[in-house]
Assembly symmetry: C2
Homo-oligomer: 284 residues x 2
């Protein structure tokens, strides 16, 4: 199944992955070069796991989890396998976020700094809890076989909206965290004196914003959605029996695929009717 | 033209306007009761215009400007009049944002505090500049009559995406600003000691988040989009001549309305084909 505007998609995908990687390099450079490094000792080096795990897991891995259905190379894989990958990446991101919370609570407790006083902590903890609920609900609705297809279809808009809301909230919360850390962590010179660390970490914040903006652009473009399973299975390359030829080494997973998956309904409306005009997003 | 899920829309509209109003009350209470009040004297009371104008203009008015096409009572008004209202509200929000920047620069200069050193200032100034560009481009593309309809249609996804990106970035930047101000403004007791002001302003941050989340939920629901002009003009209530019966007192504006407006293309695809399943959003 050919993807519309494939070159543009590829360019944006390379951009989003590159910006994500550079963000991870930046956060590592921040804690390893400008700050106290990484350790699990209750001190500042333990706190440093907090930004590293948030940027790597809660932002980068979550962003990739959101995009994973859009990769055209995976359209030959079963929807079920893609659901496992989507869920697996989100669970991994959740684990990163949870450990990052432990690091910051440990550090606060050891240094007798109160927990949960800042807006950053309120929104951050809310985001982690909602993310856990989102994953649990997603697993129940889309991976428990007895759930009726109608319910899956009804729940899909909520699942997508809350997923993107959590993702953008995490980015906003991370930017608040960067602000807090630069104010508290820079004493002489201060943040307002713009030492190299301040400018460097400001750029990290900009990179995180750009990463989020690219993820949202790619994921909201209707032309780049995974086609519904009927369309995929009718392609000549599938050899007439989609469940056998898709996924290669993951054939055992493919065999339980749900080909008439209701989650593809939103796509179906668009793809089976009039074609999109130059892949316009439809949230107008 | 009847709106799908009208009661749900009405409930959410009341909620979003209420949360917006309470946010404005909170920011006024913050500066008038907890802080130094409002004045234009180069001091802290001048700085206080910054959060007040940002919450009132750059967040609340911009949010209403985004939602204005969704109000079903306006569907009888011409698209052109709605464009004027949308543009007018955005220009008003831009003016509030620009004055709020003057307030903070004035305060910084009088107190010899450097400008533009923080991530908050970087992202905030970028958001104001991009917002100005967005308004200028929007005016050129959608209100200059000679612009071809094909160009308007091609530009629409970019206009919508960048509008929502700017809106969410403004909210993220405001949360960073709240964080900065609570850290810098609270000395004895400090922010970490959770004085009443800290908790109160944290709630303001939560309200702003909820406002943004509600705006995005309403605006991305396909069932609540303004129907395309052909559908509206074919309603019995329009009396067969839409340009004459719509808009009442704004009939002179109605006369130049663009009934086959390309901006409605995204709607057209959805509404003229299979009906939406319970108004599902389509950014899946």
């Amino acid at each position: 199944m050919a993807m519309k505007n494939y070159r543009q998609f590829l360019f944006l995908l390379v951009a989003v992955v590159s910006v994500g990687f550079v963000s991870i390099v930046f956060v590592l450079q921040w804690v390893l070069y400008f700050k106290e490094g990484l350790a699990w000792d209750g001190g500042l080096a333990e706190f440093n796991w907090h930004p590293v795990l948030i940027v790597t897991g809660f932002i980068f891995i979550q962003g990739i989890a959101i995009l994973v259905y859009r990769l055209p190379w995976t359209w030959k894989c079963s929807k079920l396998m893609m659901k496992f990958i989507h869920a697996g990446l989100n669970i991994l991101a959740f684990a990163f976020a949870a450990i990052s919370l432990v690091a910051v609570f440990d550090f606060h407790n050891a240094a007798s700094i109160p927990n949960m006083y800042s807006l950053h902590s309120w929104l951050g903890l809310t985001a982690v809890i909602l993310y856990g609920l989102q994953i649990a609900l997603g697993l129940c609705v889309y991976l428990v076989p007895i759930i009726p297809e109608s319910m899956r279809a009804v729940f899909m808009p909520v699942h997508v909206y809350s997923g993107l809301l959590i993702f953008t909230s995490v980015i906003a919360t991370a930017l608040m965290g960067i602000t807090e850390k630069l104010i508290f962590g820079l004493k002489n010179p201060k943040y307002k004196d713009s030492p190299p660390e301040a400018t460097f970490v400001n750029f990290l914040g900009v990179l995180i914003m750009v990463f989020g903006a690219l993820v949202i652009w790619i994921v909201t473009c209707p032309a780049w959605k995974r086609p519904n399973e009927q369309l995929l299975s009718s392609q000549p390359t599938s050899g007439g029996d989609a469940t056998r030829t898709m996924g290669g080494t993951v054939l055992s997973i493919c065999s339980t695929t749900d080909w008439n998956d209701p989650e593809a309904n939103c796509d179906t409306r668009k793809r089976n009717n009039k074609p999109d005009q130059s892949g316009q997003r439809s949230t107008v």
